[in-house]
């Protein structure tokens, strides 16, 4: 799920306000946008690229590897199935509030077709200095400068803070993977960790988790086998159980999804878990030495 600079991106929903705004920024950063999709505006041009009626049509006309979804929630399932049918290698789904049963449906189709999915409800993925898909402040040099630290986050705002802290400490980012704040997502914390482990540019990983679900516990199993140092912060230690903390996935149900369970699992795997994200740079420097 690390987007390479030669990979072509199709923007589903390119004619919308968000779609057009972020397409321009992706283009300016160097992302190869090959076209967009809007069935009602097929044949026109937006952001200097053609608008297609469907992803399948875009695939027949030049082709693409990655579909970026800026699609309203109730239309997201159909758009994802279109991208999968078109043979997308990966989908970055930025949409929030997609019915979970729709998400499960297109994730099942994606799994069968071998298409990876980031999101839903992600802020996107950044390969620093090369390419980005989504909405992250990639042009802000205090947030993103190319380097060798991979960052995984369920949250955009906290991910941004950690990126800044790493730059402040003299580090740069290899790849930022925003996996999304929903309860059911395509690529999990563990999937992202495996991708960064396999990535040659990445020498260390910051894993930003939050309460809810069991993804951090699952990732800890893999973390235990990794040689690259991992530093982690888990948000939600002070959050009350049974309440959804802004993200649909950030909720403690009974004794599942708790801060303590995640911290314990990661620490048992040799991961340094911090009490405050401000110390992340120093912690990484120590972990790498």
């Amino acid at each position: 799920m690390i987007v390479q600079k030669n990979e072509r991106v199709l923007v589903q929903g390119i004619t919308g306000k968000q779609g057009a705004f972020w397409t321009e920024r992706m283009q300016a950063y160097g992302t190869k946008i090959m076209g967009g999709v809007n069935p009602r505006k097929a044949g026109t041009t937006v952001c200097d690229v053609p608008v297609y009626a469907s992803a399948v049509e875009a695939a027949q006309d030049g082709g693409f590897e990655i579909a970026a979804m800026f699609i309203p929630p109730m239309l997201a399932k159909a758009a994802a199935l279109d991208a999968i049918e078109a043979g997308a290698k990966g989908i970055v789904c930025l949409t929030e509030h997609i019915p979970v049963q729709d998400v499960m449906y297109f994730l099942a189709a994606a799994r069968e077709a071998g298409t990876w999915v980031i999101g839903p409800n992600t802020t996107g993925v950044v390969t620093a200095g090369e390419s980005f898909v989504g909405f992250m402040p990639v042009f802000n040099e205090r947030v993103f400068c190319p380097g060798n630290i991979g960052i995984i986050s369920r949250s955009g705002s906290l991910g941004t803070l950690v990126c800044m802290k790493m730059v402040e400490a003299g580090f740069g980012t290899s790849t930022f993977i925003g996996i999304g704040g929903d309860p059911i997502i395509g690529s999990t914390t563990r999937d992202a960790l495996e991708a960064l482990d396999a990535d040659e540019r990445t020498k260390g990983v910051v894993l930003i988790g939050e309460i809810g679900g069991e993804m951090e516990e699952d990732a800890a199993e893999y973390a235990a086998k990794m040689d690259k140092p991992i530093v982690s912060f888990i948000a939600g230690a002070a959050s009350p159980p049974g309440k959804r903390m802004g993200h649909a996935g950030a909720i403690v149900m009974g004794d599942r999804g708790t801060y303590q369970s995640k911290r314990k699992a990661l620490e048992a795997a040799g991961v340094l878990v911090l009490d405050t994200p401000s110390a992340v740079g120093d912690a990484m420097r120590e972990a790498m030495s």
């Binding site: 929630p73 799994r111 704040g181 002070a238």
Partner: protein, 378 residues
């Protein structure tokens, strides 16, 4: 959104799952009248929470006068913070066997999961801990739906005997309730076999998935509204996700992750947050109502503003708060820490218009806020 039993059972009935005859009532007299019509019954508290039986919210009544007495005892009772305002008067059933049946959204398999156990009537978490082998797990591909023969074979080792086929048929119907109503959980505990071999749902828990609810307006009207405090209700009406907490450090931040983190760091340095409130995303223009809301909590002793802007511009968010602050003129101390897009402009706004200096380090702002809250409490 959770549904009380009386709202959940009609969804089962609509899918062809048998439920006992029942009537929803609000007074003891109405309970007696219902019992007269229905016969020997069970009087059940209607609250959107489990463990009603353990709390004394379910009573058996053989006669109308016993039903009246039961309703008198149950109505007004507090069960896990919910006041009982309605009871369901339901016909007693002839129970030959009790099962547990459930379809839920499973994060591990990223799909629907059918659960079934012959240990019905018990807390399923307890069964899972004590005897995990007694629970059948059957993951479903939501694109294909339930294959009846797969359900039958999954249940085959449980010794259901002559009832196996009818139980499997109920599971198929239960799945249709789940998938047809954007549920994230639909659970029957207990599902019973009667002496004459019928399969009947004696209880039902139904939970509507939040995003799916946006296309199920007719269902939302039947669910139990989330229990909110007065301030939380105000927040919801403003389009803000506000959660009231017990501490005294007011929190205003952007983004779910950063807001949770702000609360965590406050606790780490010995303080307690008074709220969760994020004004990220499209809410970033709601500075004034957000500030009013946080300050309306009488417990608040000081305010911590923590912005880290990615595509949400920190100068826009800060300007909203600074304007609101100048208009409302609160007397309590405020501490800013601002990072990210247009941070220089945001810092200048705070400096020039409020005459104060934002903290470079979030931790320093938090420490100052915690100290101020402690001082104000002396």
């Amino acid at each position: 959104m959770n549904f009380e039993e009386h709202a959940a059972k009609p969804l089962l009935a609509a899918a062809g799952i048998a439920v006992p005859e029942s009537e929803l009532v609000q007074t003891p007299a109405a309970a007696a009248a219902a019992a007269k019509r229905i016969g020997p019954c069970v009087v059940k508290a209607q609250v959107p929470t489990g463990k009603r039986g353990k709390a004394g919210g379910i009573k058996i009544a053989a006669t109308p006068s016993e039903a009246e007495d039961a309703a008198t005892q149950i109505l007004g009772m507090d069960i896990a913070g919910n006041t009982v305002e309605q009871v369901l008067v339901e016909a007693q059933a002839d129970i030959a066997a009790e099962y547990y049946a459930c379809v839920l959204t499973d994060a591990a398999s990223k799909g629907p999961l059918i659960l079934f156990s012959t240990e019905g009537g018990m807390d399923i978490e307890e069964v899972a801990d004590a005897d995990p082998d007694k629970i059948v797990h059957l993951p479903i591909d939501i694109r294909k739906g339930v294959d009846l023969s797969a359900v039958e074979s999954a249940l085959s080792g449980l010794g259901l005997g002559a009832r196996a086929a009818s139980v499997a048929a109920v599971m198929e119907k239960l799945y249709s309730v789940y998938v047809g109503n954007d549920a994230d959980l639909v659970e029957i505990n207990p599902l019973i076999a009667t002496g004459d071999g019928s399969i009947v749902a004696l209880d039902c828990k139904f939970s509507l998935e939040d995003s799916g609810a946006n296309r199920r307006a007719e269902l939302v009207a039947q669910g139990a509204p989330e229990k909110l405090t007065e301030l939380e209700t105000r927040g919801r009406d403003l389009g803000l996700r506000y959660i009231e907490l017990d501490g005294d450090v007011g929190v205003l931040a952007n983004g779910a992750g950063l807001t949770m983190t702000t609360m965590d760091v406050i606790r780490h340095y010995g303080g307690e947050p008074s709220n969760f409130l994020e004004i990220g995303g499209e809410a970033y223009t709601l500075g004034k109502p957000a500030l009013e809301l946080v300050l309306s909590n009488p417990k608040v002793k000081c305010l911590l503003v923590n912005f880290c802007g990615a595509f949400a511009r920190t100068d826009v968010m800060t300007e909203g708060i600074v304007n609101a602050w100048m208009e409302l003129k609160p007397t309590l101390p405020v501490f800013f820490t601002i990072h990210g897009t247009n941070e220089e402009e945001a810092v200048a706004l705070v400096r020039d218009r409020l005459g104060m200096e934002p903290y470079d380090l979030m931790d320093d702002a938090v420490k100052a806020a915690v100290a101020a809250a402690k001082e104000a409490s002396l």
